[in-house]
Symmetry: C2
Subunit: 423 residues, 2 copies
């Protein structure tokens, strides 16, 4: 007996009108998965747990979410193993985009809102129709725009986050900044732990760092982007962005998950903000680490960040510091760089314990359209920060030239020293 | 050998300068938990995975987070069981609030930011010093303020969310609203799935619903608050709030986790917003469902929502529809209603599949300072929505009078009918 007949698509069903969400579900063997999937779909749209007078057939056809498929994995057919403790499913549901509108909060509320408190359900993927994507502006610069700003078209980029993370003055930070910039870093960012403190005011920092960028340019002949962290109370965010740009910042950084994805989007799409935005990973594990709940990492750090306009995304790489399966780290990069209708491509910045020895692996995995990112490996280099940055540029150059790290280090002492320290 | 000597508190350590965070950690038996805890603390403040030149002893003493305690549970002393697969710990870390400032994004970035991608670590509790709480305004109305607006001091309140959730016009919704209001609902909210759609514009809805509230007042002599859902792109949120209030709305609703907790705070603390705010639970499971990661539910739905200024929080109750351990649902309520320095008390609204039979349990658990919340049990009542609301008011009255539901229903047909339908 079918409760609401939602699992057959109605006449005239047009995928362009629906957002397609894919879920992993684990449930006890006794559950009626067909009814459960229907309940999920209804709960994402018109209905509730008991029939109500106002919910008509016409409303359901137009505005209810539809179950597109239910697949059990593994796919038992003859009988269940007698000792089975749970059954697992992949379920695909189509949600009418007209209920949601082109905005991220109602999108998440609809597809992983109350669903998140209904059991072991993880959102694995979201597919957006072209029309829906058209309601988002995406990154203003993207990979190509950032390459243009930096004047670098033919190699992977190098990023540095100032270390130590926090607890220092702008004057102290400026020394770190200068070393990294002179050594050849393309993009320098604040640590996510520093936004504005009484001992390190943002505008003062921007002014000093941008002076250093200018001095470094005179030496190295390369531009340096400085992504200043503007994360703050929501009502201060836009003002922080404007004041930072007025003070000379040529890029911004937002801890977009603790700030709110929608808040980053509001900065990215603001016509007055004419610099690229770097989105930082912190808090992301809260959303994706659960194998049985939350959202897959490539959505949190890939599709959603890009949809919300991040020009660059710093995300984890398994390297002793952070945990992330190798396939996930590559999947996130795919979501950031593959063609996606009107939405520009976002620079992947895999990060966490990266040092020169990891460079060949990252570049083999992701290609040239990525940013090598190092904090400690630059500021903790035995010969100092300038050498730390040089060592990483040398590791990149070695890869681009098709030469192994050890061989290349024979003529490059900074790289040799780094390889010696971080084995 | 102690790496950074952080686990002894320095001279002059003053708890008023620190936010105290408690974590659950599960790790392989081989890990050095003392070093791991130190690494966590360093990673939340000054340091990184490798020593860097700029990190001085003085900086660490002032600005580094400090490990206060490491406790293994269970607490092995003589030897480990030979078959032990993992060891579990509760670790307490003190983070200097001066690094963070009185804002929620940097708070979360600091205490559960990168930590969230470092392994099996769940944030169990946050303790704020009084001075830090003083930087937040909290709920503008709180329990006492809402009771004053409604003129109800001596009983639990009744809330209704319009069902069906979405897919209807304001005119259709107004009928549902009227029924609920006349039947005795104190607070009516939109479903979280409806904010603004082309078939249901917010301002039109507010005007019609508030007319119904007025009509209902003439009949019942009681006020009705209407919490209109303003969830939207971040750059529209304040404008949505103002336009809704101009159109007559006497309360607001925000899906605060998909919107961003900080965004809700910006509305709650805005001096132009002079109506109470209801915060909705959707997406919360993404943050707390993982036993080995994320944040405990009483933080997501309790402390943080209240800190960010929610006057009311709709949160799950285990009832067949949503999943939440009974002790968690009570713990959330404690976080919302107990005294907390300058921060007003927030109304707990446990929700999800609530019908009259659950009323005595909820009121026994939470006392009078809570809101009974029902959607389907009102709009799906066999005798219609007015009767559905009446049945719930009767269930509340029965409890307040100390009379059992069955006995009370002998003279109250709406309650009798509901008890018959939802056994």
């Amino acid at each position: 007996m079918f409760n609401r007949s939602l699992h057959f698509l109605p006449d005239g069903f047009d995928r362009e009108d629906y957002i397609i969400a894919t879920y992993f579900i684990e449930e006890k063997p006794g559950i009626d998965i067909i009814r459960f999937a229907e309940t999920l779909a209804v709960d994402m749209s018109t209905g509730t747990w008991t029939a109500v007078e106002g919910e008509t057939e016409e409303m359901r056809e137009k505005y209810a979410a539809k179950v597109i498929s239910i697949n059990e994995v593994p796919n038992f057919e003859f009988e269940l193993p007698c000792d089975i403790a749970e059954r697992r499913y992949v379920i695909i549901i189509a949600v009418p985009s007209v209920n949601i509108g082109c905005q991220i909060p109602m999108l998440l509320t609809t597809i992983i809102g109350n669903t998140s408190v209904m059991g072991r359900i993880k959102l694995l993927d979201i597919e957006f129709p072209k029309k829906y994507l058209g309601g988002f502006k995406g990154p203003k610069f993207g990979i190509e725009g950032i390459r243009k700003l930096l004047g670098v078209s033919n190699r992977p980029l190098l990023n540095n986050m100032i270390k130590p993370c926090t607890g220092f003055t702008p004057e102290v930070g400026a020394k770190f900044f200068y070393g990294a910039a002179v050594g050849g870093v393309d993009i320098i960012k604040d640590d996510e732990l520093l936004s504005e403190t009484e001992y390190n005011m943002r505008t003062a920092r921007v002014k000093l760092y941008m002076e250093m960028a200018k001095k470094a340019y005179e030496l190295k002949g390369e531009q340096t982007l400085y992504c200043v962290n503007i994360t703050d109370r929501a009502d201060k965010l836009l003002d922080n962005a404007k004041r930072a740009i007025e003070a000379g910042a040529n890029a911004l950084m937002i801890n977009y998950l603790t700030q709110g994805i929608a808040s980053m989007q509001s900065i990215a799409e603001n016509p007055d903000i004419n610099v690229p935005i770097l989105a930082h990973l912190d808090f992301s594990g809260v959303l994706y680490a659960n194998p049985y709940g939350g959202l897959a990492s490539h959505l949190v750090l890939g599709k959603l960040a890009r949809l919300a306009g991040a020009d660059m995304v710093v995300y984890p790489i398994e390297s002793g510091k952070y945990r992330l399966l190798d396939e996930r780290y590559r999947q996130i990069a795919f979501d950031l760089v593959l063609d996606w209708h009107n939405i520009k491509r976002t620079f992947p910045i895999p990060s966490g314990g990266v040092h020169p020895r990891l460079v060949p692996k990252i570049l083999s995995d992701l290609g040239y359209d990525c940013v090598i990112s190092a904090g400690g490996a630059i500021h903790g280099h035995p010969m100092g920060a300038i050498a730390g940055a040089k060592a990483l540029r040398q590791a990149i150059d070695a890869f681009v030239s098709g030469i192994g790290l050890e061989e290349y280090s024979a003529n490059h002492e900074e790289l040799a020293s780094a390889l010696e320290k971080w084995k």
